[in-house]
């Protein structure tokens, strides 16, 4: 499938790029979302039955997922289908541009699907309605059960074409699913598509699990578990379900994260009341000490080029954010604002660090440049933390807890997303309460 995408993309992109007239300004947030029409994909009448799939509804279902993806960006305004003036099959061949312009659409997405020989064939086109031109087109084949991913891949290609940035829809989020009263929480690892669909639980809830994080290069996850009442960092293969303890430390290991090449895990190890940062190379098991200080050093995060590490430490009194070279040298404090700073996470683009700030009983999610300048607080609340970046560095997912009543009632933990502009804050729907989100890389990359 990968090959097909590359070949076809190459053909269409090279020809069409110079004609583009629509431009989405993504630096401003959602002030003026672009009106977009997503026509239901036409289902070819030659389509064959596949298992218990409702093939007739597939075209509609795919277009709905695409619409939801675009609506959630805050940059686009998918128009209501009732106003659509052309049938999907005809629109896909050649839209009557003036009719679509009449409903104020600036871009149109059309497509066609065919299920044959247990394969799902998909093609779609993106039309610039003002210029009356096709902007991009793509065809690919996959197994029919992959139809949701098809919708996300289409969304990514269109997003890329319209914004000039990589998409982030064909991705998943791993998180901790929470249930039960606040002082007897049951926590399980859970994974879902970035739009909240296809939730799957990866642990049973028998032991406390915390802070799962994706490997940026594959579908491995590192997380912390209290299995047998020994708090340790684990490595989990989501495909096979196999898991193992990371390293052979004689005490608590926590706050794990992968290096950008996916080959190392960086984490904290606590001994005799002191927490320092260590790395372990996954293949060779070689453990390396990175910090050696009598303060608490934790929440480490690599820069995307692997050369630097951001972490938080209370070596100056309260928690602040520091940056050092990846061998632990050149430690430099970067936060000097009023308040306590924690959980630095380097943007995949490398230009920003997301963080949690605590000040005067409020919690903030913010971003700053990697030298600590240009701090921007995106959202303020009673409690929120644990930012994680979308793979294109455009959106941050985090969790937020509500203030509980005197018996713990009214307590909830939910996932939220916000654009780095500070606009478009949204709750990400999860089946249960949720915390500690981590965003995967693009699956189809």
């Amino acid at each position: 499938m990968k090959k097909i995408i590359i070949i076809i993309l190459f053909n269409f992109f090279t020809i069409i790029k110079s004609y583009a007239l629509i431009e989405v300004d993504i630096t401003r947030g959602n002030l003026d979302p672009l009106p977009l029409a997503v026509s239901p994909l036409h289902v070819d009448i030659k389509s064959e039955d596949y298992k218990d799939m409702k093939i007739k509804e597939l075209g509609n279902n795919i277009s709905e997922i695409i619409e939801n993806n675009f609506r959630a960006t805050g940059l686009f305004n998918p128009l209501k289908k009732e106003a659509f003036v052309q049938k999907p099959d005809i629109a896909h061949l050649k839209p009557r541009f003036e009719d679509w312009r009449l409903i104020k659409a600036q871009a149109l997405i059309t497509g066609k699907i065919l299920i044959k020989d247990e394969k799902l064939k998909v093609e779609f086109r993106l039309w610039d309605l003002a210029a009356a031109k096709e902007m991009t087109a793509l065809a690919f084949t996959t197994t029919p059960s992959n139809w949701r991913r098809v919708a996300h891949i289409i969304s990514d290609k269109i997003y890329e074409r319209l914004t000039g940035e990589e998409g982030y829809f064909d991705t998943r989020i791993i998180y901790v699913a929470e249930s039960g009263p606040k002082n007897q929480r049951v926590k399980k690892l859970a994974i879902m598509d970035q739009d909240g669909a296809k939730t799957k639980y990866l642990t049973l809830g028998n032991e406390l699990v915390l802070t799962p994080r994706f490997n940026p290069t594959n579908q491995m996850v590192t997380y912390m578990s209290y299995f047998r009442n020994m708090p340790r960092v684990y490595l989990l293969d989501i495909e096979t379900g196999t898991q193992e303890v990371v390293g052979n430390f004689p005490g608590m290991t926590f706050a794990p994260r992968f290096s950008p090449d996916g080959k190392k895990i960086i984490m904290s190890f606590a001994k005799d009341g002191n927490s320092d940062i260590f790395t372990m190379e996954i293949e060779t098991r070689v453990v390396e000490r990175i910090t050696d200080h009598s303060s608490i050093d934790t929440s480490p995060s690599f820069s995307p080029d692997g050369k630097f590490i951001a972490f938080n430490s209370d070596r100056s009194g309260l928690q602040q954010i520091y940056v050092m070279r990846s061998d632990g040298s050149g430690v430099k404090r970067i936060t000097f604002g009023n308040g306590i700073y924690g959980t630095p996470v380097w943007s995949p683009r490398g230009d920003l660090i997301a963080f949690t700030k605590m000040r005067k009983g409020k919690f903030y999610i913010g971003v700053m440049r990697t030298d600590g300048t240009g701090e921007r607080l995106l959202t303020e609340n009673f409690y929120q933390e644990a930012p994680s970046w979308s793979p294109n560095g455009r959106v941050i997912v985090f969790y937020r807890e509500t203030k509980a009543g005197l018996k713990g009632e009214g307590f909830t933990a939910k996932l939220w997303t916000i654009d780095i502009t500070g606009y478009n804050e949204r709750q990400l729907k999860t089946k249960t309460d949720a915390s500690d989100p981590s965003w995967s890389s693009l699956l189809s990359k």
Binding site: F254, A270, G273, N274, I296, N312, T343, K403, G408, S435
Partner: protein, 158 residues
């Protein structure tokens, strides 16, 4: 160098003033720097008159006078019960990031362990575990609940 020395003197003066002012505020209750819980709610007992837990101020792992008195009672109790081993559980309140709180809980549990050891209890008899903010004893979101949750609890393991 002279400049440095002067600076040093100034720093010493500032430091002593801070210390003195810290002492004076410590006597008041409920200030931000000393908001350790002093009541008896939530407390259980290892034996009659031997409380199982001590409480900490926000972001702190230093033992208060009351905490040290409690731990001395625990040490006496452990000296009398030579075959008893304990685990010290360290906890934090919900007003901090999860990962930092895990480290803070560990530091609190070790502060209690270290104190027991200075009173002659072998480190081999005392294991520690941090639960960070994962196991609040009081589920409310109030300063009182938070102060009850910032604790280390000594638990018998055999």
């Amino acid at each position: 160098m002279i400049f440095n020395k002067n600076l040093k003197n100034v720093l010493i003066v500032i430091f002593t003033t801070l210390l003195l002012s810290a002492c004076s505020t410590a006597k008041k209750t409920g200030t931000a720097s000393d908001d350790a819980y002093t009541g008896k709610e939530t407390v259980k007992y290892l034996a009659s008159g031997v409380p199982d837990r001590v409480f900490f101020a926000t972001n702190k792992s230093s033992l208060t006078t009351a905490s040290r008195a409690t731990l001395r009672k625990q040490a006496t109790f452990l000296r009398k019960n030579k075959k008893l081993n304990v685990t010290i559980e360290g906890h934090a309140d919900e007003r901090g990031t999860r990962e930092y709180n895990l480290a803070l809980g560990e530091r609190r549990a070790n502060a209690a362990r270290d104190y027991l050891m200075t009173y002659g209890i072998s480190g081999k008899r005392i294991s520690v575990i941090s639960y960070g903010k994962e196991k609040p004893i009081n589920a409310a979101s109030t300063p009182l609940a938070w102060s009850q949750n910032r604790r280390s609890v000594t638990v018998k393991v055999n």
